[in-house]
């Protein structure tokens, strides 16, 4: 089990190409914790915007009658990957991890695997 700060540090430290990470509450759209990003990447804007992405997908699934859960969402830009991973259980309901990767340095399969492990260890 790892706490929030440790998990965010581990995302940036152990995942190749990771440039920013946030833990976001999608019931409110606000970030519980952020790391990286810097001046040119506002993680609060990203948290609010990606909350709409998650909510929209959940609503679509509801309309489609899918009784299933989102495990993760991958958004591929020209130069970046954005990964959204929803937390499961242990009070993690309504939260997601948001990870920004530099596409030229990241290994997508490895990043997804590591993010799953970090999410599994995260205790909120």
């Amino acid at each position: 089990m790892a706490n929030l700060e440790t998990s965010l540090k581990e995302c940036l430290g152990s995942i190749d190409g990771a440039t920013a990470v946030a833990l976001v509450d999608y019931t409110s759209g606000m970030a519980l914790g952020t790391l990286g990003g810097g001046k040119d990447f506002n993680l609060e804007v990203a948290a609010a915007g990606n909350t709409d992405v998650v909510r929209s997908k959940l609503r679509t699934m509801e309309h489609l009658g899918l009784k299933d859960e989102i495990e993760d969402i991958l958004i591929t830009l020209n130069t970046q990957y954005h990964m959204i991973r929803l937390l499961k259980g242990r009070g993690g309901n309504g939260l997601f991890l948001y990870l920004v990767l530099d596409a030229s340095r990241a290994n997508l399969a490895m990043a997804r695997h590591q993010l799953r492990r970090i999410e599994g260890d995260l205790e909120v």
Partner: protein
């Protein structure tokens, strides 16, 4: 008048960007309505209540050395009321339902507050030049002379009429 219509345009833009917004109001810090887009609510009453809440907020920020007023967020069982600073003389109050993305509400509310602050400063600058001095904290002649636990006296104190009862049936503080 140009200021009021510009501010109203900004409120309409805000409503388009945040769909869960149920109402918005721009008012001066002393409780006068500048523009409103809040169907089903009494704007004058809301502006007066905003001014009353601001009075407490200013004093609380001052007493705890938190710096100038930026925003107030109130969460009820059925939704949110958020007030954002709009320059030194005005504020922006937003009503949103419980499903609103609060992160987005903050981003858009702060941006619109800053924009309305610019509009107010540009439009009301000369004739309302005293506006910053109308802030309760700075308007106090002598804080020590006021008994502890009482609020600074501000004008206008009362809304022109009582706010209409809300769907939730809240009670007006007296």
């Amino acid at each position: 008048m140009a200021v009021e219509s510009d501010v109203l345009d900004e409120l309409h833009r805000l409503r388009n960007r945040v769909p869960q917004l149920t109402g918005s109001l721009a008012a001066t810090v002393d409780g006068l309505v500048l523009a409103h887009d809040a169907p089903g609510t009494e704007p004058e009453g809301l502006a007066a209540l905003t001014a009353a809440a601001l009075g407490v907020a200013y004093r609380m920020a001052e007493a705890t050395a938190r710096g100038g007023f930026r925003e107030l967020l109130l969460r009820g069982a059925d939704g949110y009321v958020a007030t954002y600073a709009a320059g030194p003389a005005a504020v922006l109050t937003l009503l949103a339902d419980g499903r609103v993305n609060v992160g987005r509400l903050h981003l858009e509310g702060r941006r619109s507050g800053a924009r309305i602050g610019e509009l107010v400063a540009a439009g009301l600058g000369p004739e309302r030049g005293r506006a910053p001095a109308a802030e309760p904290v700075t308007a106090l002649p002598d804080p020590a002379a006021r008994p502890i636990g009482t609020l600074p006296v501000r004008t206008p104190q009362r809304p022109a009429h009582q706010p209409a009862p809300q769907a939730g049936g809240h009670h007006r503080p007296t």
